[in-house]
């Protein structure tokens, strides 16, 4: 026993707390308990201004029970016998939201920022993003087959196909060799979106990144390299061997899928919205749109205009490239939409006003997509990616990462508002996290983007180096930069990294252009390897719990929508 512990016990004994069973003295209570509470439960009437934590938890359980009761009732209509847990295919619609890089710390910080932006009187910590009220939550292990810390290509392939694979490859299994076209054949994976398409459901994909970027690409493409977004990105031997670029595969989605199954007749993707126009246009200024940023907007070196090819293939479809075109869409009469709103990635939500021709928000795209897709009585499958959370983190800029997470939350709310909960499975998750931390001991309600101010204090706490520090930070990356009101996180890429400690005394760390400090200098901040959260509501959502491989998400969607069996009935009629 060390001396300190001995002294503590001695003092306690003297005070009558420990071990002194003196019959002449009444023993002091061991601990001060909440004896003031009314009864055996912890239910209590909080003082004015205090949160009723007990009631809040109780209400959450009640809401969850009501949720499953609703689904149970829907199940009963379809089958008087089968129970919820054994009934596949209850979900008419499936919506998968992916916050690219939206690790748990990002969700927590975004929740607080959202609350604080709403001027919460409780500090913001009590706030909930829309999907945090979903009844089912689990964790997903994100590693790729060959990588402890994953990338979006491998993780999204796992989610969409049910099979984990290597880093950097799209829609193919681990037998692939990245960058080798010849290894693709025979290793292609069929995705949940393809199964839904075969089954006759409407299908859609949305991303604020380029629509040929890894996450959206994994819903429809098979590629030995995530970077083969157009033909100019591919090595000559891959082109010669017959591999197709990702943009080509998007536009040829219908014919490519039909070619895989004899006699299959599908109608193709109904909704495609995102950035990445450059991969669909020829490298020729004559094809530039009004939104062009480069002298020649397109990158394609094969002279093909894939937007024109799409319009030819779908004469009833609407190709749009700006806010005005988006606004003009009539969702009740529009058969299908192909929206390419930016030459490269779409803007950060906070920077959207700076777009040349204007572009819609993620929530607006989600709402409009659902209204187009739900015209099909057989239901729909929709994947929605908030693609730029990841980019803001890579740039070391929490403001934009959190702002885009809040916009994702709004998009999810649009999905909730525009679908029937009894027949729609909504899953919200991330492909991977980032090395993004919430640290120190800031007091309740301290600005989440601010410097740490300790409980009971009004001035920033000082670290061992006598300098203030922020609550949010990154373990690695480009480090500190104070770019003031700049709402484009990527400005930092023109600056040399400043890692280590900086005197933040006179810096407004809550401004959009503030980039958090970091420890390890790197050209860009990295992904992290920890698990990500999976939130779910609707039919099949009860399967989301515990800690599972990320590939389980596909299987949950398959069960909820009965995707494999429905598709199999089409391609293998009895």
């Amino acid at each position: 026993m060390n001396n300190k512990l001995k002294m503590t016990l001695l003092a306690a004994a003297i005070a009558g707390i420990v071990g002194c069973n003196d019959s002449t003295t009444a023993p002091a209570p061991l601990v001060v308990t909440a004896l003031e509470r009314s009864d055996i439960t912890n239910a209590n009437t909080p003082a004015v201004g205090q949160t009723d934590w007990f009631a809040e938890g109780d209400n959450s359980v009640t809401a969850t029970r009501a949720h499953f009761e609703t689904i149970e009732n829907a199940t009963a209509v379809r089958s008087k016998v089968r129970s919820l847990v054994n009934t596949a295919g209850v979900a008419k619609n499936i919506i998968l939201f992916v916050g690219d890089g939206m690790g748990v710390s990002t969700i927590t910080a975004a929740r607080i920022l959202d609350g604080q932006q709403k001027n919460s009187v409780d500090g913001g910590e009590e706030n909930k993003l829309s999907f945090e009220s979903f009844p089912s939550v689990g964790l997903a292990k994100t590693y790729n087959v060959d990588s402890q810390t994953p990338d979006s290509a491998g993780t999204m392939t796992a989610m969409m196909s049910g099979v984990k694979t290597d880093v950097g490859v799209i829609g193919v299994d681990e037998a692939i060799e990245r960058g080798k076209c010849a290894t693709v054949a025979g290793n292609e994976l069929i995705t949940a979106l393809e199964l839904a398409e075969i089954s006759g459901m409407s299908t859609g994909i949305i991303s604020t990144a380029r629509i040929t970027h890894a996450t959206p690409a994994a819903t429809y493409a098979k590629s030995a390299d995530r970077n083969w977004e157009d033909v100019s990105d591919m090595p000559d031997d891959a082109i010669a061997a017959g591999c197709k670029d990702i943009a080509d595969q998007l536009v040829k989605f219908e014919t490519n899928l039909e070619a895989k199954f004899s006699g299959l007749d599908i109608d193709g993707l109904e909704v495609v919205m995102g950035g990445g126009r450059r991969h669909f246009l020829p490298k020729d200024a004559a094809f530039n749109s009004a939104d062009a940023m480069s002298p020649a907007e397109g990158d394609r070196t094969d002279g093909r205009d894939l937007t024109a090819e799409w319009e030819t293939a779908y004469p009833n479809g609407q190709y749009v490239m700006d806010q005005a075109g988006f606004d003009a869409l009539d969702t009740e009469t529009t058969e299908r939409v192909f929206g390419l709103f930016n030459e490269s990635h779409m803007q950060y939500e906070a920077d959207r006003a700076n777009d040349i021709a204007g572009e819609p928000s993620l929530s607006a795209m989600t709402e409009k997509a659902i209204k187009v897709l739900d015209n099909n009585e057989k239901g729909f499958f929709l994947m929605v990616e908030a693609g730029r959370i990841d980019h803001a983190h890579h740039a070391g800029n929490a403001f934009n990462a959190l702002s885009d997470t809040i916009e994702l939350s709004k998009a999810v709310q649009k999905a909730i508002d525009n679908t029937n909960p009894a027949e729609t499975l909504i899953i919200v998750t991330a492909d991977h996290g980032h090395v993004f931390t919430i640290a120190g001991y800031p007091k309740r309600g301290n600005p989440i983007l601010g410097k740490v101010v300790s409980v009971g204090k009004t001035e920033p706490a000082l670290a061992k180096d006598n300098l203030p520090y922020t609550t949010l930070g990154y373990m690695n990356g480009r480090g500190f930069r104070d770019l003031g009101a700049e709402t484009d996180a990527d400005v930092v890429y023109d600056e040399e990294p400043i890692t280590g400690r900086v005197d933040l005394t006179g810096v407004d760390t809550t401004s959009p252009g503030f980039h958090q400090e970091t420890l390890v200098p790197r050209s860009s901040e990295t992904h992290s390897g920890e698990d990500v959260a999976v939130f779910a509501t609707g039919p099949g959502s009860h399967l989301v719990n515990g800690t599972n491989e990320q590939s389980m998400i596909y299987h949950v969607m398959d069960f909820a929508g009965n995707l494999v069996k429905s598709a199999d009935a089409i391609v293998s009629p009895q």
Binding site: G168, N227, M293, S344, D490, V491, Y493, D494, E496
Partner: protein, 244 residues
Amino acid sequence: MKTIFLSVCLMLSSSVIIAECHYDAKEIAGKYTIEIKDSDSGKLLNKEHLNVWRMGNSVAYENIDTQITEIWSLVSNGQVKPDRYFDEYKRGIEYQPADINNGKGETHWSAKYQIISEADIKKMQLEKTTGNACDELNHYVNHAAKNKFKLAWLTQLNLPKEMSYTQGKTLVTWKLQELMIDKEQIKATFVKRQNYGVTDYADIGDNESDPFLLKMINLGFVGHASGVYSANGEQMALEGEHHH
């Protein structure tokens, strides 16, 4: 009196004809040397070779020594889009408009297009004009700027023939060594870079296994002799200007 008047008219007419320059200032290039000398001793500290290529709404700064070429393009909304090409590796990085210079890119187009901005030239004092036609030079100084700026400006081409300014304890001197007007050569300079493999700046974080990106990143991103700028994107030409 009439005779004198006619003579003046003839002289003016004649000077207009003489002053014509048939070079296309929108498609032209200049080979520059940039010398950095110790202000006190005059010792040469560094010498760079920079070719500035202009074609339409794009201008390329080709640094022969670093083999890094920056191409700046004027976007339809008035912003400036920078792309950076690493000639040794035949690879490039593409940026969003106005991402350079801390979001002030839109104000720097003329500085990129003609090396020194029109606004800065207007702040200077014209000492004299010499030469004619394509060789017409306006000689400017800026006595108000503590960096002792001097400029010999090719008025018909909108390019400096020579300029110098102090920067810290050094004297920086740009000298035009050769003009290039071959339009095919100019076009080829841009097309060559357009055929490089390019990576969007925002995708660097997802591609650090790319050996080029790793190496290039270690070279650093900060611009090299791309107009008269400091590392943080602020214009250097009139640094320390005295305001009255």
